[in-house]
C-alpha cells in the first residue's frame, strides 16, 4: 500500500522524498484492436513488478472500468535485448465464457530493446488460481509504454 500511495503521489505530480521508488511508467494500449486498457508498470524490488490495468471492455472476462492490480515480473532476455512484463490478476466471475467461475488473468507484454512499443495479451483461464491450461481466450494488447528516462 505504501508503494501504491507513492504511485498516486507521483501521478499527481507531487514530490516525494522516497528516492528508492522508481517512477512507474504507463500507457494506453488497445485491447482486441477496438478497445482500450490503461496499463501502469511499477518496478518493485529486484525484478518484481506491480501492474495496474483498467480495461474499457472486458469481453465477458475482464472487469471493466475498475483498476485491477496484479503482481508479476520483469523478465529480461539479454541475448535478444528483449523484455517481458508479466502479472497475474485474480478476476471475479463475469458471466461470460467462464460462466459463474472466477477468471484468472495472466498478462504478458513484450518489448524489443528500448522501443516504446509493447505487444502481448491477457490470457484468460476459467477458475481461480489457474495459470496455465487452454485459455478460453487471449485478449490481444498492443500500444506504447515508453520506458522511463534512466535514473540519474
Amino acid at each position: 500500500m505504501k508503494r501504491l500511495a507513492c504511485l498516486l503521489i507521483l501521478a499527481l505530480g507531487c514530490g516525494s522524498d522516497e528516492e528508492t521508488v522508481p517512477a512507474p511508467f504507463a500507457g494506453t494500449l488497445t485491447v482486441e484492436l477496438r478497445d482500450r486498457a490503461d496499463v501502469a508498470l511499477e518496478l518493485l524490488e529486484g525484478d518484481a513488478l506491480r501492474v495496474t490495468l483498467t480495461a474499457s471492455a472486458g469481453y465477458g472476462l475482464v472487469p471493466t472500468g475498475t483498476a485491477m492490480i496484479g503482481n508479476g515480473w520483469v523478465e529480461h532476455f539479454p541475448e535478444t535485448d528483449g523484455t517481458l512484463y508479466t502479472a497475474r490478476f485474480d478476476g471475479p466471475a463475469q458471466d461470460g465464457l467462464c460462466g459463474d467461475e472466477p477468471v484468472s488473468l495472466a498478462l504478458s507484454l513484450h518489448r524489443q530493446g528500448g522501443n516504446a512499443t509493447v505487444i502481448g495479451g491477457i490470457a484468460c483461464y476459467c477458475g481461480s488460481g489457474v495459470w496455465h491450461g487452454r485459455p478460453v481466450r487471449i485478449l490481444r494488447l498492443d500500444g506504447a509504454i515508453p520506458l522511463p528516462p534512466p535514473a540519474e
Partner: protein, 591 residues
C-alpha cells in the same frame, strides 16, 4: 490449382480413354482446411466497428466449420463410393469436439470407413519449415495424441499448411508412419520447370505424388489417367470462392457444392474412380513402378511465384504492409522456442513436475507459429495473435524457470539445454571482444541510422550486430558477400544438424528464398552466415548465379528501432550446422 483449371485437362484425358489396353482412371481431391484462416478473428479487420464484421476467434472458427467444412463432409457422406482427402491442423479436431460434435462424429465415421482420409502433419497451421525440428516433433506428438483422443484415424498422406514441403520430410514421414507426400506442383515446377508428372515417385522410403498435377501415363501395358478435381483452400468451394475475412458473405452456397458434385458424377460416369490419395497409391502399386527418385527438391511453399517463395512470411510485405511485423513475429517465435527448451532443462534438473504446464506452453507456441501471423497478407489482428500466444508461452516458461532456479538454490542460473544442466553461472558464451569486420556487408537501412559492431569469438567465428534506428522507411536489408560455387550448403526443414548440399545446376530458378530453420547457409569458400533467430529471422535470398546471400525486411515498424545479429563462421558445413543449433535450437541462457 483451382478445380476450373484442373478440369481443363479433361478433354485430353477423355481422348486417351479409348485405349484397349489396361486402363485406370483416378480422380483425386484434397481440401486444405485451416481453421486459423483468420487467426484471432476478424475483430478490427474493418476500418470502423461493425458487429456483423467484428467476429472473434471462435466465431470465425465456427463459420469455417458450418459454412465450408461441414458441407464438404456432407457431400462425401452422400456418396459411399467416393473418397476424399481433408487436410487440417489437428487443432481443428479440438474445435469440432468442443463446439461441433455432430460434425466430428460424421467425420470419424467416414474416416473409419476409409472414405475420408484425414490428413494432418502439424497441430496448428505452423510455419514449421522456419523453426527448429523439435517444435515440429512436439507438434507431431500432439497431432497423434489429438487424433487418438478424438478416435479419428490419421491419414497416411501428407499435405501441409501453405503446401510446405522439403526434402527431409521423406525421413520424417517414414519415422511417423506416413506413406505419401503430396508435393505441390508449383513448388516442383518452380524448382525444375514444367514437365509431365509420373504416377508415383520414390521419396526416400516413402512415396510422393505431384499434388494438383493431372497426367496421362502410358507405359505400353497400361494407361493411367489422373485428374485432380480440387487442391486448394477447402474453405472456398462451398462458399463460392469467398474467404472467411468476409464473414458477412462467407456462407454455404449449396449450388456451388452441387456443381462440384455434378462434375464428380460426370467423371464417375466416364470411368474415373474418385479416391483418396492413400487409395490411389495402393491401387497404383501393381500398375506402375514408382519413378526411382524425385529430382533434388528444396524447402518451400505451394505458390512460390506469387509469394516470392517463403519471403512473404519472413520479411515480405503484403497488402496490409504497415500492420505487419514479420521479424518481430518470427524472432519472438524463435525466442519462445529457446525458452521452452530451457524451461524443459530447468524442470528436469530441478526435478519439477512441470509437464502439464510446459505442454500447455508448447501448444501455445504451435498456435503462435501459425503462418498467417506474418503472411501472406496478415492484418494487425493476426500479427497480434501470433505475438500474444508467444508471450503467454514465454510467461509460463519463465515461471517454471524461476521455480526451478529457487529449487536448485541458484543465484544466477546458466541453462545449457544441450548438456541438460542448470547451474550457477553467468556466461552464456557467443560474445567476444570488438574487432574489425572480416568482410564488408552491404547494408541498406533507408532513412534509418545504421551501425555495425563486430566481435571476434574465436578464430574464424565472428558476431555482427546491425542496429537500425527508428525511421520512416519500412525496408531494410543486409547482403553478405559470397563466392559462387557449384554447390551450396544450408540447413533444411526437419533435419537440424544435417547439412543439405545442393547443386545449383540442378535447379531452374533465378532466385530462391530459404527459411533456414536453424538459421545457417553457406557463402562459399568455406564460410557460412548464421542468423541469431532471436534477433533476426528473415528469408535468405540466394541468386542462382551469385554467391551473395541477402536478408531483407519490408515490414519494419516505423516507430521502432531494430537490432539484428548474425554470426559469420569459417569451417565445414557440418560444423556450421552444429553452431547454428547451438545458437538457435539449444541456446545457452542466463536467467
Amino acid at each position: 490449382m483451382r478445380r476450373g483449371l484442373s478440369f481443363c485437362a479433361l478433354p485430353l484425358l477423355l481422348s486417351l480413354a479409348s485405349s484397349a489396353r489396361g486402363q485406370e482412371k483416378f480422380a483425386l481431391q484434397l481440401f486444405h482446411f485451416n481453421v486459423q484462416y483468420v487467426a484471432g478473428g476478424t475483430l478490427g479487420y474493418s476500418l470502423n466497428p461493425d458487429p456483423i464484421l467484428d467476429l472473434d476467434n471462435d466465431a470465425i472458427e465456427d463459420l469455417i466449420v458450418t459454412e465450408s467444412f461441414a458441407p464438404i463432409v456432407d457431400l462425401f457422406d452422400a456418396h459411399p463410393t467416393w473418397g476424399v482427402d481433408l487436410e487440417m491442423q489437428a487443432y481443428l479436431l479440438d474445435v469440432l469436439a468442443a463446439r461441433h460434435p455432430e460434425v466430428l462424429d460424421k467425420l470419424r465415421a467416414l474416416a473409419k470407413a476409409g472414405r475420408v482420409e484425414v490428413v494432418s502433419f502439424h497441430y496448428a497451421d505452423q510455419l514449421y519449415i522456419a523453426y527448429p525440428e523439435e517444435d515440429w516433433e512436439r507438434s507431431q506428438d500432439l497431432v497423434a495424441a489429438t487424433f487418438a483422443k478424438h478416435d479419428v484415424p490419421l491419414g497416411r498422406s501428407v499435405f501441409c499448411q501453405e503446401g510446405q514441403a522439403g526434402p527431409a520430410l521423406a525421413a520424417r514421414l517414414e519415422e511417423r508412419g506416413y506413406r505419401t507426400m503430396v508435393w505441390p506442383k508449383n513448388l516442383w515446377s518452380f524448382q525444375h520447370g514444367d514437365a509431365e508428372a509420373l504416377p508415383l515417385y520414390q521419396f526416400g522410403n516413402v512415396f510422393l505424388v505431384q499434388g494438383g498435377k493431372g497426367f496421362a501415363y502410358d507405359d505400353g501395358n497400361v494407361t493411367i489417367d489422373v485428374t485432380w478435381t480440387f487442391l486448394d483452400d477447402g474453405e472456398l468451394l462451398a462458399t463460392g470462392d469467398i474467404n472467411p475475412y468476409f464473414p458477412d458473405i462467407f456462407r454455404h452456397h449449396p449450388e456451388e457444392v452441387a456443381a462440384y458434385e455434378a462434375d464428380l458424377l460426370a467423371l464417375e460416369r466416364q470411368g474415373y474412380r474418385i479416391v483418396t490419395v492413400d487409395e490411389y497409391v495402393a491401387s497404383i502399386g501393381p500398375l506402375a513402378t514408382p519413378a526411382p527418385a524425385t529430382p533434388p527438391l528444396l524447402d518451400g511453399t505451394w505458390q512460390p511465384n506469387s509469394t516470392n517463395g517463403v519471403k512473404k512470411w519472413l520479411g515480405g510485405r503484403g497488402v496490409w504492409g504497415a500492420q505487419e511485423r514479420d521479424n518481430h513475429v518470427r524472432t519472438l517465435g524463435a525466442t519462445a522456442h529457446r525458452e521452452l527448451v530451457a524451461a524443459e532443462t530447468v524442470a528436469s534438473a530441478a526435478g519439477l513436475d512441470a509437464r502439464e504446464r510446459l505442454d500447455d506452453a508448447w501448444r501455445l507456441l504451435f498456435l503462435g507459429q501459425v503462418s498467417d501471423a506474418s503472411g501472406i497478407n496478415p492484418f494487425r489482428g493476426e500479427v497480434l495473435y501470433g505475438l500474444s500466444h508467444f508471450t503467454e508461452a514465454l510467461r509460463i516458461a519463465r515461471e517454471v524457470e524461476r521455480e526451478g532456479k529457487a529449487a536448485l538454490g541458484l543465484g544466477t542460473m546458466l541453462v545449457d539445454p544441450a548438456g541438460g544442466t542448470a547451474s550457477e553461472g553467468s556466461d552464456a558464451g557467443l560474445r567476444g571482444p570488438a574487432t574489425d569486420p572480416p568482410l564488408e556487408l552491404l547494408v541498406d537501412g533507408g532513412d534509418r541510422q545504421v551501425s555495425q559492431s563486430w566481435e571476434l569469438l574465436e578464430p574464424g567465428h565472428w558476431r555482427v550486430a546491425i542496429d537500425f534506428g527508428p525511421g520512416e522507411f519500412t525496408n531494410a536489408a543486409v547482403t553478405f558477400p559470397g563466392e559462387v560455387e557449384d554447390t551450396l550448403a544450408l540447413g533444411a526443414a526437419l533435419a537440424d544438424g544435417v547439412p543439405l548440399d545442393i547443386t545449383r545446376a540442378d535447379f531452374t530458378f533465378e532466385s530462391f528464398h530459404f527459411a533456414l530453420p536453424t538459421g545457417w547457409i553457406g557463402l562459399g569458400g568455406g564460410r557460412f552466415v548464421v542468423k541469431d533467430m532471436g534477433a533476426v529471422h528473415l528469408a535468405a535470398e540466394v541468386v542462382r548465379d551469385s554467391g551473395d546471400v541477402t536478408f531483407g525486411d519490408e515490414t519494419m515498424a516505423v516507430e521502432d528501432a531494430q537490432h539484428w545479429v548474425f554470426h559469420v563462421f569459417d569451417g565445414t558445413a557440418a560444423d556450421a550446422a552444429k553452431l547454428a543449433q547451438t545458437i538457435n535450437a539449444t541456446r545457452r541462457l542466463v536467467r
